[in-house]
Amino acid sequence: MRVVIIDAGGANTGSVRYAFERLGIEAALVTDAASIRLADRVVLPGVGTAAQVMARLRQLDLVDVLRSLEQPLLGICVGMQLLYERSEEGNVQGLGLLPGTVARLAGAGGMRVPHMGWNRLRHTAPGTLATGIAEGDHAFFVHSFAAPVTPDCILASDHGAPFAAAVQRGHIGGAQFHPERSATVGARLLQNFLAPGVVPAVSPNGSPA
């Protein structure tokens, strides 16, 4: 299986590559459209700001490539946030693959922002990416912005308010948490992403994937 990780300049690309290595997959770090189109699985990691990562994707001329992918795509952290139409972080236009706007975590009621640490996951809708992840399992988060809980959300978490911890719609998937640093829960999500049939026949909202 050909897995590519888009090197969008974020610092966690190495860690994501090692996480696949632990699953027996040699993922390639790529920046070119041809390698991405040829891949069986595409990963968009992101550490940094939405504006930085999006600017990098534009610079590499990858925006249309990502918008027209048919194979499974997994956005991680900021990579997941960029799947949406817009992020309030720097008022950046995202890839628009999922409807919705990414907003800053409220930080109300003694909740510290950045949301940093292990938080519980709860299932909100069926999705193959969440297979084998139990209700209440913990995943590791580090972020200040988050996507809302919409029908595309398969796992939610709470930090002051609910937010999307993992999403899946057709071949588009994402994790707000860091699977590469979420121990067995993270490894399970990555395994699910690699598994055959990760694209559901019918997307969660009932329309064909």
């Binding site: 190495g14 090692y18 550490v47 003694g110 640490g117 938080n119 913990h138 709470d158 067995t184």
Partner: protein
């Protein structure tokens, strides 16, 4: 609900994990990767590697072991010691560290915190603070604490420095209360509570853990986000699974893998 974090700290010198009491008399504790994996398996939430030889010797962190650790462990880890510019931080992050922690270089040049936050986001930037209570009752910061012969007393008040570091872009503060370091009489709850009041980002307690009750005290009384310890974990005096069970029994949210 966000879990309170249990964070073993591994002091690294010349590529080995060491531990001293009050920053002196270091004893070899074992291989970095071996210990990292042991703590991961025990349920540590995060690891901090503090290269105590890097900063005093003016050296930067050796990236070889950062990469070795990153390859093998699947929990987050932070690297501290000898990071004094964006390029060094970038190298350490690219080697696989999730966060970098700065202490003395940030005191010498506070703008470093902004530069790191701008380059990598606040979530990557931890400011470590070594603090001691002086005879006038004020907590003040110390720099160059990796080498007792070079440690400097600064006029900066600890609470002022915490507020300033957060304003400049620190995403997390690790407050090491030096009066308590390595003596196992409990975290400095008074100082941590005062720090909590001025710290809007995650705050990690460091220095003084000796028994399970000390961790519960830090979470319940000082409302810290995480508790860091070294000797009690390295010596086996406290086992992390048992610690977490005890915390959970007191309704403290923890991750029990």
């Amino acid at each position: 609900m966000l879990s309170r974090r249990i964070i073993p700290c591994l002091d690294v010198r010349d590529g080995r994990v060491v531990k001293g009491v009050r920053f002196r008399d270091h004893v070899d504790m074992g291989d970095i990767v071996e210990l990292a994996l042991r703590y991961r398996d025990a349920g540590a939430d995060e690891l901090v590697f503090y290269d105590i030889s890097a900063s005093p010797q003016g050296r930067s962190v050796d990236r070889g072991w950062v990469e070795r650790v990153s390859r093998l462990i699947d929990i987050p880890f932070c690297v501290a010691g000898g990071i004094r510019d964006v390029e060094t931080a970038r190298a350490v992050l690219h080697a696989g560290a999730d966060k970098i922690s700065v202490n003395t270089p940030a005191l010498e040049r506070p703008a470093l915190i902004c530069e790191l936050a701008d380059a990598f986001g606040v979530q990557c930037v931890v400011v470590g603070i070594d603090s001691i209570r002086e005879t006038d009752g004020q907590w003040r910061v110390r720099s160059h604490t990796g080498d007792p012969d070079r440690t400097r007393e600064l006029p900066t008040r600890t609470l002022d420095w915490i507020a300033e570091a957060v304003r400049l872009g620190a995403g997390e503060i690790v407050l090491n209360c030096m009066d308590k370091d390595g003596v196992r009489t409990g975290y400095d709850l008074e100082q941590l509570s005062a720090a909590r009041a001025v710290c809007a980002v995650p705050l990690i307690a460091s220095g003084g853990a000796g028994e399970i009750a000390h961790f519960a005290d830090a979470f319940l009384q000082a409302d810290v986000d995480g508790a860091l310890a070294a000797s009690v974990f390295h010596s086996g005096r406290i086992a992390i699974p048992e610690l977490k069970r005890a915390l959970a029994a007191q309704h403290i949210e923890v991750r029990c893998p």
